[in-house]
């Protein structure tokens, strides 16, 4: 999501157009949108649009009205991006996307987004407790412990700045380049690209407190100290 501004911004994106809405009265914003589309109706016609409303809380009726407004110009409103949980929930109930569609994975080509050593990661800054499941396409970084009964699943790599005591799945789509890093590994089940290894408190390597990195080597998961 983009920085918030005080004027309506229209950007071209892969999926169509992105409209970043300004702050201020909702009715004023809607009439701004209408004016903008009216002045460039051929440009907008037939487009798929995604709307970014930052932290604004929108009711179901407001979102539906917005969708109808676009509909009247033959524009498809595909998604509504927001930080607001209320808006997200309401948008979801109307069948709108609340995040950008994931990039399609092209056959025979490894997209950069899935290179576990690059790109952005999902950051979790608390202990992941029993019964919580975090599932992401991107790599995941946890600052805290992964407690027994918690599950972390990523297509990329998983790094735990704390103790792993729960279940970790990295390279969930079969990416053997994915790695799992942790300060400590206690009783846990860790898999990378479908290869699983069970750790017990005792199987922690004898170097004690050095952070560990797990990767696939010759078809099995091996543990190594992180080299500086």
């Amino acid at each position: 999501m983009e920085n918030h501004t005080n004027q309506l911004i229209v950007k071209g994106i892969n999926e169509g157009l992105m409209l970043i809405l300004p702050d201020g009265e909702w009715e004023v914003v809607c009439s701004d949108i209408k004016e903008r589309i009216n002045s460039q109706s051929t440009f907008f016609k037939g487009a798929d649009v995604y709307i970014d409303v930052a932290s604004r809380d929108l009711r179901v009726s407001e979102i539906a009205d917005l969708r109808d407004l676009f509909g009247s110009f033959e524009i498809r409103m595909r998604g509504l991006l927001s930080f607001s949980e209320i808006t997200q929930k309401n948008a979801k109930s109307l069948g709108l996307d609340i995040s950008m569609p994931q990039k399609r994975i092209k056959k025979g080509k490894k997209p950069d987004a899935l290179n576990p050593n690059e790109g952005s990661a999902f950051l979790v800054q608390k202990n992941v407790r029993s019964g919580i499941r975090i599932e992401k396409e991107e790599s995941i970084v946890i600052v805290g412990d992964v407690n027994p009964g918690a599950e972390i699943i990523s297509c990329g790599s998983v790094f735990v700045w704390g103790k792993i005591k729960g279940k970790i799945t990295a390279g969930a789509n079969g990416n053997e380049q994915a790695v799992v890093g942790a300060l400590f590994i206690e009783n846990s089940q860790i898999s990378i690209a479908g290869i699983m290894r069970i750790f017990t408190k005792q199987s922690q390597n004898s170097n004690g407190s050095a952070p560990l990195i797990l990767k696939i080597q010759n078809g099995e998961i091996v543990a190594d100290n992180i080299k500086s």
Binding site: K126, R129, S130, G131, I132, D145, N147, P148, G149
Partner: protein, 263 residues
């Protein structure tokens, strides 16, 4: 007067939620506070037994919620403490007889006249748990120093965080110092390390608890017993007193503590 609603919950059954609730209520009552206990375990009530009030129940919480009686009629006054009341659970209904909204309304009404509302949550993470935490201003999670109870406590704390009711505080019940010293039991630090929330109560294992439960006279009335003293300390901490966690070590500065408690 605006009181405070505290919910006592655990996830796992049998860790001592009801015992903790009742004894905390007695501890607060002994400090001169006006306290109402609500038994949230509809269908499996037993707080009335532990308080020794079982034969006085006429109306229960479901009667109040469904409008068959006024709240005051369902509140049973304790035999020993004039400002301690129990709102009993219904034994013939189930958890779905009550909604979180009804619990919030009920607690708001009680809070206007009392210092504390203590809700004893049922075990589990279903409707009864949701009813119990909805009105809470503060939540205490009870656990025993054993892996299965700690695991369930972790799950419960996660759910409390998701409901934005946190941070919860921890009560470790039934710590056996001899077993801890032998290395046969999780220590207070082991539990704290996994759950990572603030500790507010540390209750030693004490067979007097079973005796007092069977007699219907909560152990907190016996301030000289190990567990009784620990519950009085818990009540003092709830009231904001800074009391060190030395329930497990022994009786060293017991007199000093009593002086602090009543002085």
């Amino acid at each position: 007067m605006t009181g405070k609603t505290i919910t006592i919950t655990s996830g796992k059954g049998g860790v001592g939620k009801t015992t903790v609730t009742v004894n905390l209520a007695v501890g607060l009552g002994l400090r001169g506070k006006k306290v109402v206990c609500i038994d949230g375990d509809i269908g499996l009530r037993n707080m009335d037994v532990i308080l020794g009030l079982e034969n006085r129940i006429v109306y229960d919480i479901v009667d109040v919620v469904e409008g068959r009686c006024r709240l005051k009629q369902a509140m049973i006054r304790d035999k020993r403490l004039p400002d301690l009341f129990l709102v009993p659970a219904s034994q013939t209904r189930d958890k779905n007889s009550i909604t979180p909204e009804a619990m919030i309304r009920l607690c708001e009404e009680i809070k206007s006249e009392f210092d504390y509302v203590l809700i004893d949550s049922p075990a589990g993470i279903e409707q009864g748990f949701k009813n119990a935490i909805a009105p809470a201003d503060q939540i205490f999670v009870v656990t025993n120093p054993e892996v299965s109870a700690v695991r369930d406590a972790d799950r419960i704390i996660g759910l409390i965080e998701a409901e934005e009711k946190g941070p919860a505080s921890l009560i470790i019940n039934r710590i056996n110092s001899a077993m801890v010293n032998r290395g046969d039991m999780l220590t207070q630090n082991d539990v704290n390390e996994l759950l990572a929330i603030d500790l507010i109560g540390l209750i030693p294992e004490d067979e007097n608890v079973i005796i007092s439960t069977n007699k219907g006279s909560p152990i907190a009335f016996e301030g000289k017993s190990k567990a009784g003293r620990a519950f009085l300390n818990l009540a003092a901490r709830v009231e904001g007193d800074m009391i060190p966690f030395n329930e497990i070590e022994g009786k060293d500065n017991f007199l000093e503590k009593v002086r602090k408690l009543f002085g």
